[in-house]
């Protein structure tokens, strides 16, 4: 949350913002239960990202590693990135066919603010896995992908 917190007065440009996120991802700054980084270091627009969420304790997801694809278009962070699960998962806010996290069902994307980061998205998805309606759902076998 500290990241880009000055958003109201100083607007951090897209590139600076993404570089900052990249560094946080590489150095593992943050709560340490999610990880993320850029797919292609040569992409000057820094659009394509990979993230992982480690399944929270005391849920069916515990011990699993979920991989996601995040795509930050050029209007990021004004607009949220598109988020898609690569590893198969069964939770309510994820489309069962495509793995796309549906913004309508995921409040963070629906009410996106430019201070939010990809780390926030991943952490929030992790919390989502631990909600009562998701934590017991039967999951597809581990290691299967959308």
């Amino acid at each position: 949350m500290t990241l880009g917190s000055g958003g109201s007065s100083v607007v951090v440009p897209r590139n600076f913002r993404l570089l900052e996120e990249l560094e946080r991802g590489e150095k593992g700054i943050g709560d340490g239960t999610v990880s993320y980084g850029m797919d292609d270091g040569d992409d000057i627009y820094m659009r394509s990202w990979t993230g992982t969420v480690i399944g929270p304790h005391n849920t069916v997801h515990e011990g699993r590693i979920y991989q996601l694809k995040l795509f930050c278009d050029k209007d990021y962070p004004e607009k949220p990135p598109s988020v898609r699960f690569h590893s198969r998962i069964n939770i309510t806010c994820v489309n069962h066919e495509t793995g796309v996290v549906e913004p309508k069902k995921f409040a963070l994307l629906a009410n996106w603010q430019r201070e939010y980061t990809m780390e926030d998205i991943l952490t929030q998805l992790k919390k989502e896995m631990a909600t009562p309606h998701n934590r017991k759902l039967v999951q597809p076998p581990e290691g299967t992908y959308f």
Binding site: G25, E26, K27, G28, G32, T33, S35, Y36, G37, M38, G41, W49, T50, G51, T52, I54, N58, V60, E62, G63, I65, Q67, L68, K136, V138, Q139, P141, E142
Partner: protein
């Protein structure tokens, strides 16, 4: 998980590593339990080598380690450099499920004292018991055991290297032979070693608790945790596996309970709920364990239950529609038919029986979840409540089958207890 306290040694133990390789850098490791440590490594080393280096600094074996960097899972044969790793970057480490730790293997210890010639056979036997109920008798419904022991099965089957060690391939064959021959199992069950095992429900419990998937299920299902924590139920199950008479009796009770279930208004819902709460997680636990193993064939339970699971999914989807009409009919005119006699297929309750019969598997394992006929009992209770007419009630009670059932229920305080305990969570 407990990598705590390892961080202090990490720097020291890796000094020599740093001297051997030129471009050594410090990499931070963050475990999923929150502990951190740093190691010194060359970026040219492969992930596999790096993992064994990490294993010296924490208690997670290399093949259990799963490393994540920049959102990607690192593959053993790639070099660290290929992932773009640089000095002072952080790698996340998660302990994977795959091979359960061999450490908690409580089975052989007491068995060894009782039967020093072949300590290892006991574990094989325990698996045998599970299949004795679930497979050889063809009716998982007979028990708790059927569902309990697959968990165990996956514990041992899922980790060929875990319980038995790699050097004992022939043990697998022994186990398979065992599971195919119920007589042999019975004989073994009567040996002093097994008697000792049976008199120690704690031991069985701890064996089951050492399977992480089983533990997870118990965490999520207090009802089940109760079953597994109750020594008397465990003992009863084991007794049943040994004593064919008792087994038959229990299966009869289950059968009766099942044939009554559809005359209760909530009966099928109850079945469905049970399927969702109990059977599915169990199946998951057992089949997941099986998949983790090298080959499915080595785990008879995984295949057995896997098949069962398949059938069951179909049954579950068929059940509500097929029986819905009947349940409502029952509500409108509460149970004017005499209760079907479960032993008399030809004459009694042709219409009701026909809905139950087609899916023996679903029934069997559905019941198996709750075990020991516990399911039928809340159903019975509902049934009694739903009968407004005392005449009908009398009629029912005079039915020899019913009175016999009631008698057998009432004469066994344990059974009674069990059903009272089950009732609160399930209804």
């Amino acid at each position: 998980m407990g990598a705590a306290g390892d961080s202090s040694e990490s720097k020291v133990s890796n000094e020599h590593q740093g001297q051997q390789e030129d471009a050594a850098v410090v990499i931070n490791i963050r475990c999923s339990n929150g502990t951190k440590f740093a190691v010194r490594t060359s970026l040219e080393s492969t992930v596999g080598v790096f993992k064994s280096l990490l294993a010296q600094n924490c208690d997670i074996l290399p093949d259990q380690q799963r490393l994540i960097y920049k959102g990607r899972i690192l593959k053993d044969d790639q070099t660290l450099h290929s992932y773009g790793l640089q000095a002072d970057h952080t790698i996340h480490m998660v302990r994977g499920f795959s091979p359960p730790a061999p450490a908690p293997a409580p089975a052989p210890t007491p068995a060894a004292t009782a039967n020093p010639e072949n300590p290892d056979s006991t574990t094989g036997v325990t698996r045998g018991v599970g299949s004795n109920e679930g497979g050889a008798f063809g009716l998982g419904g007979a028990g708790l055991g059927a569902s309990l022991f697959p968990g165990l099965g996956s514990l041992s089957g899922g980790s060929p290297s875990g319980l038995f060690g790699d050097g004992l391939p022939e043990l697998e064959q022994v186990q398979q032979r065992l599971t195919q021959n119920p007589n042999m199992i019975r004989e073994i069950m009567n040996t002093p070693a097994m008697q000792g095992l049976m008199n120690n429900p704690e031991l069985i419990r701890s064996m089951m608790m050492s399977n992480p998937q089983m533990r997870e299920i118990m965490d999520r299902n207090p009802e089940l945790a109760h079953v597994l924590n109750d020594p008397s139920i465990l003992r009863q199950t084991l007794e049943a596996a040994r004593n064919p008479e008792l087994m038959r009796e229990m299966m009869r009770n289950t059968d009766r309970a099942m044939s009554n279930i559809e005359s209760t208004p909530e009966g099928f819902n109850m079945l469905r709920r049970m399927y969702e709460n109990v059977q599915e997680p169990f199946l998951n636990a057992t089949t997941m364990g099986g998949n983790a193993g090298n080959d499915l064939g080595s785990n008879p339970f995984a295949t057995l239950l896997g098949n069962q699971g398949g059938t069951q999914v179909r049954d579950a989807s068929n059940n509500p529609s097929a029986t819905g009409s009947e349940t409502t009919a029952g509500l409108a005119a509460p149970n004017t038919n005499p209760l079907p006699n479960p032993w008399n297929n030809a004459t009694g309750g042709t219409q009701t029986n026909s809905t139950v019969r087609p899916n023996p598997v679903g029934r069997a394992s559905g019941l198996g979840g709750l075990g020991l006929g516990g399911l039928g009992l809340p159903g019975m209770d509902n049934l009694l409540n739903s009968m407004p007419d005392s005449n009908q009630m009398n009629q029912l009670l005079q039915n020899p089958a019913v009175s016999q059932m009631m008698q057998s229920l009432l004469s066994n305080p344990e059974y009674m207890n069990q059903m009272l305990n089950f009732q609160s969570p399930t209804t």
